[in-house]
Symmetry: C2
Subunit: 300 residues, 2 copies
DNA sequence: ATAATGTCTTTTATCGTGAAAAAACATTTT
DNA sequence: AAAATGTTTTTTCACGATAAAAGACATTAT
């Protein structure tokens, strides 16, 4: 097996959703932009849609014949990229019990366990190494540094430094900057979520990420912007693993965000700093409190 | 061809230098630690030393027969790892004229040009991407962001943030910490270099890196420590490319380091901050002044 | 003339393979 | 019995090959 066609399958599934909305599909290049794939892939998708009787396809004419049925979709698990599959497997192991700091990571074993080639695992580990959780020994294996209390503290230290600076830069942005409109939209979303928090609390983490990324972008510094990937990754897996008091946590966080937004809009540096600090402090607390004591041991 | 034996060749060359110093070599495990390679490689080295009449080898007995001659050494270019070879080629291209921001990077072309497999190039690019100079388009090519003025400014912004914090942490370290002895040693090296600056100015960059790494380590934060890799990489290639006023620049920098060291030893936070700022400011100036105007264009 | 479609070429993503190097295990020496 | 040497197994590193996907070029339709 060389390369899976998950790009095609995923785009096909997304393409199916377009059929509900229109009588006939747009041009191939337009579909390509819409789905984020090349024309080659668009044409494969159209071919299959024709074969399965979803559309008729004759040159520019792509008429929708029927709405897609559940069985038209490719199974979800076939639409994931290899990188995603490896990341998930790896994180599951990492967050599972028994992943102690200092433990060594075996590429071959990982590859066999997940059922992929070693090359993909190697590439994943290299990419993953920037998160600071693993480290390579020269000419040798990788070492797990562990999801420890020390890690969380180091991560949050940088986060706080970067976010305070970004927030200050944000508040200093001119009136005519487009970010203020973005901020307004986010504020509305926050208010909506706040009013329905009882049922929608699990939608918070996605909103959280968008909000913080908007702020970090104001730094106009690629290293700050990129660092948010580390934070997002940690929070993503971390909260998947630790659901304790999720609702209450998110409820508090939404309110803190609203105060933070208000501070930004006031453009008062002192207020911004205070609101930002307050939110970051509770974010740190949440992260720290969820690290089991057994993991808080430092690597030898 | 699968894997080159550069680890063996490099360790062999380093092993030859040991022959000058002793009548007989230590045990295999000891040699392994000394050369930073496994026993397997040590044994290959000993085999060759025996074959070429450098030593006699019988179990524990490894007697030196003669001093190594120049022709005993493997050629330097055969001792580089693939990663180093690729990095050098890539940086040469990057710093050469015509490497404009926005340009796309072709893995296959790079691999062919350097004469290596695509896997190695891919892995290099992934590792290299954390330096913020290139970016990957999903399912597609890499894009060169370019060594621009913006890049230099973003880099130095983070550097200054991190170093000021590390320097403050350093000054607050307890008297009994081992770093003070390290600092003393570095101070001596600086004074020696200062007194012979006319002839040894090109030795500064190595000393510079050791000095700043020592300070960054005081932060006890892996993200700060790791970020110095970005700075070191940039400075390394950058100064290789731009030799203008190297001597004068280094002379100034040595003096700034000495003032910085004195400030650290005073443990006065105000003095530390001032000395650190002063040095970082001139480091930034040096970097910025060497970026040609043609490169200062922002990517589209 | 512009923008689409049709066709062909190039590049990327992934695997299996094999040599280099590390690591583990067994045996001998001090 | 501790540490070395001898031997075997496992893992890492790098390659070429191949299907998926992107991209380029040629042709046709509005």
């Amino acid at each position: 097996m060389s390369k899976s066609n998950n790009v095609y399958k995923d785009a096909f599934n997304r393409g199916l959703r377009l059929l509900d909305e229109t009588r006939s599909l747009p041009s191939e290049p337009e579909l390509g932009t819409l789905l984020g794939v090349s024309r080659t892939t668009v044409r494969s998708i159209l071919s299959r849609m024709e074969e399965t009787g979803l559309i008729t396809w004759n040159k520019r004419n792509k008429t929708v014949l029927r709405a897609p049925k559940p069985e038209d979709f490719f199974p979800e698990e076939e639409t994931d990229s290899l990188a995603e599959i490896i990341e998930r497997s790896f994180m599951r192991r990492l967050l599972a019990e028994g992943a102690e700091a200092g433990m060594q990571i075996n590429e071959l074993e990982l590859a066999r366990e997940i059922g992929v080639g070693t090359t993909s695992v190697r590439e994943f580990l290299i990419r993953f190494s920037r998160f600071g959780l693993i480290e390579k020994r020269r000419n040798s294996h990788w070492v797990l540094k562990g999801f420890t209390r020390a890690f969380a503290l180091e991560l949050t230290e940088i986060r706080e430094m970067f976010e305070l600076r970004s927030a200050a830069a944000f508040a200093a942005l001119p009136e005519e900057s487009a970010v203020w409109a973005d901020l307004d939209r986010l504020e509305v979303e926050h208010r909506q979520l706040a009013s329905e928090i009882a049922t929608r609390f699990n939608e918070f983490s996605e909103l959280d990420e968008r909000f913080h990324r908007l702020i970090h972008r104001a730094s106009h510094n690629r290293f700050i912007v990129d660092f948010y990937d580390v934070i997002a990754m940690i929070f993503h897996y971390h909260y998947q693993w630790n659901k304790a008091q999720e609702r209450q946590r998110n409820e508090v966080a939404v309110q803190e965000h609203l105060a933070y937004i208000a501070a930004l809009k006031s453009r008062d540096p002192g207020k911004v700093d205070a609101a930002c600090r307050k939110h970051l402090k509770s974010a740190r607390q949440t992260l720290l409190s969820s690290i089991p004591e057994g993991r808080s041991v430092q690597p030898a």
